[in-house]
Amino acid sequence: MVNTCSTLYTKEVMRHFKKPHNYGKIKDADGVGKVGNIVCGDVMHLYIKIKNNIIKEIKFETFGCVAAISTSSVITDLAKGKTIEEALKIEKRDVIKSLGGLPSIKYHCSVLAVDALNEAIYDYFVKSRKLIPKDLKIKHKKIKKDREIIEKRYKKWL
């Protein structure tokens, strides 16, 4: 008999799903990123603590499928201990590569994980009243716009 999800998900994805890294909440977080929509079935909250420009602590809470949980878990591994600049360079293909691949129908989960990280960092800049990098401002604007479109589309369910 084949193993769980063997034609859908890699061993690495399943490893993260079985024992997610860094799940939980940071009560006094320096930045919080909230992305996704419960109507769509994917919601990620990402919490970060920054010290000397480095992501010292990072935690996630996710409502979603196997891909959503494992992309959340792996992005905390990718971002932890990195500088803010390094963290902002993390893209969806890094997430997918770290997991050894994802089914194409689940790529949007990797996008969500990257968005959550960007939003958390944006939130940190706003809270600490630091100058927000131009690129991050653009990313935030797009995430905000996408969220508004989805909220409008699913207004009757929310």
Partner: protein, 386 residues
Amino acid sequence: MKKIYLDYAATTPVDSKVLKAMQPYFSKDFGNTMSLHSFGQSAKVALENSRNTVADFINAKPNEIIFTSSATESNNTALKGVALNMPKGGYARHIIISSIEHPCIAETAKWLSRGYKVTKVPVDKYGMVNPKDIEKEIKPETILVSVIHASNEIGTIQNIAEIGRICRKRGVYFHTDASQSFGKVPIDVKKMNIDVLTASSHKIYGPKGAGLLYVREGIKLVPLLHGGGQENGLRGSTVNVPAIVGFAKSVEICKKEMKSESVRLEKLRDKLIKNVLKIEDSHLNGHPQKRLSNNANFWFSFIEGESLIIQLDLKGIAVSTGSACSSFKLEPSHVLLAIGLKPQEAHGSLRVSLGRYTTEKDIDCLIDILPGTVRKIRKISPFKNF
């Protein structure tokens, strides 16, 4: 790790008696039923005996049974075959279906809507169709009503006899997809005024690759498969004798065991439902009483279905879900939406379906494991009130 299968609504294992009955028809009595020699005729006898067995089970005549490859093929033939034959002439192009049909009916109706008007009748919060709602929609142009006998997802059993009575009175053909009910709930096509009916072999411990389509005598269909004249010209293709023999054997077994099995499974199902509903923020989908003896469908708040079923699979329990993330279209189950669930609620659905080899120990195991699994998933979710 012991594996527990609780997805009998998806498919069933072939019964050992069925496998034994099929055996001779692979290499010994392998003839083509259309051949005139003794190899062919021997296969033809097996085919016709199978037809008699199956017809008798639903009080149909043998010449009213067409064997197909599957319920999907039967459903396609039922809708396209009746519609494209234009039973009331070219002007009459209205079809009525329910909003909780299996995709092979819903998608076929969608395809037919390029030239036919399709009305979808809503269901109540339990998934019940009100026969009066069907009656309201019937017009002179209506040629066919199709309502699934028992839902593959939520288990709700429709009042088929009443819908049949209305259709017969109004001169409209009535089809029912009985894939989940055939072999579990008694069906009498004459008493229930059913004109066309679909059933499936692999849902009742028969092999995959066989289905049936009952078509009341006098009703004409356009075949889906034109060809060599098999099945009275209605389904071209060399007949899959081993699969059909297996199908008939599984029907024979159902005839004997249906009643007692139904009672046994109902007890297990109700024990499961009672205990699962003790989990905080859990709900039952479908009608509490008028449901298949083997079906239990739940939804849990703030749980995503794919995560839930994979966690259970990791623990050896096989079940299914109606969550969007688990479907290829990334849309939640249309059946759950039709009974009034919001998408975020439909995401958290779990379907458990019991069967012939399900023991009380299996149910106890799921009852034991489920609460902790639900708790574990809720723990890593942002909606942490639990």
